[in-house]
């Protein structure tokens, strides 16, 4: 008897109705604000004020044109992309290196280092933001791209090293020993064996970090001052606040902030579910 058969046989209609009601309610509540935001972004402000709920009568791209022209959205988008990609790639590489060192070298100090990194899970951006601001100002990293990327990498590391270590631990020692006997150096072992075998965990670390870095707000907001340094969330926040009379324009800015992540979501959905499900949990 197959599992599904077993399940369907025992279905009580009460539970089915309840399930549908509950899940549909949740889906509607989740989607309605986003759908409303999407179609409202094609309406001019006057139309939104008169008929806030109705679909656009004459869909217009005027809001988007203005948002890109006055809102610095292109620049913000590329900044976000730059910050997120560079810091995610660095976090992935550094965490795999560290994970390899901490699990396969058999030094007693590894435990201490691991514990030290785990401590970082308890520390969040706002507990270091004051000293970080003072430090960056005094060494000249304030309002530079490097000054944003370094904290992004650092805050990604504790979780990434945890995930990388537990995965690399599972790679058979025999593989590495055989390579050592064949005369391979540790650099070679890392690039050819560890990195190749770690593809699934690379995806998990990359996806989680990219998501966090893309949506990060406080660090960019406090450690940069120039318009041309700002990421998408920071730009949208000041743009939608400054012009808070024009609803149409605001909606277009919000859509610009959401659409790239929806594309990302549909591509990376499985890796995301796996990443969060495996115990990697958002701050």
């Amino acid at each position: 008897m197959s599992k599904t058969n077993l399940r369907t046989k025992r279905i009580s209609s009460g539970w089915t109705v309840f399930s549908y009601a509950f899940l549909i309610l949740f889906t509607v509540v989740t989607l309605v604000p986003m759908v409303w935001m999407l179609y409202s972004s094609f309406k001019l402000n006057g139309e939104i004020l008169l008929y806030p709920m109705s679909l656009p009568k004459e869909p217009t791209l005027a809001n988007y044109r203005k948002a890109f022209e006055f809102g610095n959205m292109f620049n913000a988008f590329f900044n976000s992309l730059f910050y997120s990609l560079i810091s995610t790639a660095s976090t992935v590489l550094l965490s795999l290196c560290a994970g390899f060192a901490l699990t396969k070298f058999g030094y007693r100090s590894s435990k201490v280092y691991s514990g030290f990194f785990t401590l970082g899970l308890l520390i969040t951006v706002n507990s270091v933001i004051t000293p970080l601001f003072i430090m960056e100002t005094s060494v000249g990293l304030y309002n530079t791209r490097l000054g944003v990327i370094l904290p992004y990498i650092a805050f990604g590391l504790p979780m990434a090293i945890l995930i990388a270590s537990s995965f690399i631990k599972g790679i058979p020692d025999a593989l590495i020993e055989a390579a050592v006997i064949d005369g391979a150096g540790y650099q070679y072992i890392f690039w050819k064996i560890i990195l190749t075998l770690s593809t699934p965990v690379i995806a998990t670390i990359a996806v989680l970090n990219f998501l966090n870095n893309w949506n990060e707000f406080l660090l960019v907001f406090t450690l940069t001052s120039g318009e041309n340094m700002r990421s998408l969330p920071v730009t949208i926040n000041s743009f939608a606040g400054r012009l808070n009379q024009d609803y149409g324009l605001q909606f277009s800015a919000l859509v610009i902030g959401t659409v790239p992540m929806f594309i990302f979501y549909f591509i990376a959905h499985n890796a995301l579910v796996q990443g969060f499900g495996e115990g990697a949990i958002k701050e």
Partner: protein
């Protein structure tokens, strides 16, 4: 001998880049923060060491107390709202009583990708005079002049924020619990179903015990996470009106970056760290005690 030295060099080459970045950007500032918290600043200059004075005036400040209470409300909605709803959603999806469980999961999980800033601004629109919520209430109550006034209430101003938090994060717990349910061996369920166990029995005797650990872990993270909330509140209300919706991280932000009071701000951040570590240890202790009781 040479190989041993090589090994040591490789070890440090692999470990040190991560370690140095981590040390200088997370550990060093925390230590510095601790030191700063005993100092007083004026016009971007340190003007003296004041001992525990910062801590005393923070704890006495009614604005900080209000912020702390708002953090507690966020904590309660996380632990008593998001997590139970997450368990229910995960279970309904797991039992596949509906068609298209995958579709529901995919749609409900979507807000996880949106930045808190966008979520906050979107919901501000929802509650605005041209918003969905306002329109809904107007059509139900037949009062065309209804506007949302709860933001101005000192006691209830947090409610819209709590609703948004529920909207934003419940699905995260759903995904975590679902992943854990799917790791359960199918045979356990089959046996229970064949034996004709009632749904309530299955939930109480199989599902909840199986999820107990992960529910606990999530609660711990929700508790410490709720002490740190910033982005959403900052973008949605900025803590206002007055300090009705202020949270500790926002209080910290204002002290540091609006008043340039670095010592005072650092003391707030140390208080947040102490509270978060304290609450985590406390809940761990309670959980361990509860486990011993039931074994």
């Amino acid at each position: 001998m040479i190989r041993n030295r090589n090994k040591k060099i490789s070890f440090y080459t692999l470990l040190m880049p991560a370690f140095i970045i981590y040390l200088s950007i997370i550990i060093f500032p925390i230590v510095m923060s601790f030191g700063l918290s005993f100092t007083k600043w004026r016009h971007y200059q340190m003007v003296g060491v004041v001992g525990l004075e910062n801590y005393v005036s923070i704890l006495k400040d009614p604005s900080f107390q209000k912020s702390l209470w708002n953090n507690v409300q966020i904590m309660l909605i996380s632990v008593l709202g998001q997590i139970p709803l997450g368990v229910i959603l995960a279970y309904l999806l797991y039992r596949k009583w509906v068609r298209g469980a995958k579709f529901f999961e995919m749609m409900i999980f979507m807000p996880i990708t949106i930045s808190s800033v966008v979520v906050a601004l979107l919901w501000n629109r929802v509650f605005s005079p041209v918003g969905i919520y306002t329109a809904l209430v107007r059509s139900i109550t037949h009062n065309p002049d209804y506007v949302v006034k709860i933001f101005e209430s000192s006691r209830f101003a947090m409610i819209p924020i709590l609703i948004v938090l529920l909207w934003q994060h419940t699905s995260l717990y759903m995904v975590i619990f679902l992943a854990n349910l799917q790791r359960l061996p199918e045979s356990v369920f089959e046996a229970a179903v064949i034996d004709g166990a009632k749904e309530s029995t299955i939930i109480m005797k199989i599902v909840l015990p199986a999820l107990a650990n992960v529910i606990f872990t999530c609660s711990v993270l929700a508790i410490s996470g709720s002490l740190k909330s910033f982005d959403l509140v900052f973008a949605m209300t900025g803590g206002g009106p007055v300090d009705y919706t202020s949270v500790m991280a926002l209080y910290l932000y204002k002290q540091t970056f609006t008043f340039s009071n670095y010592g005072y701000g650092s003391a707030v951040s140390i208080i947040i760290v102490i509270l978060s570590v304290g609450l985590i240890s406390l809940s761990r202790g309670l959980y361990a005690r509860a486990q011993r009781k039931y074994e």
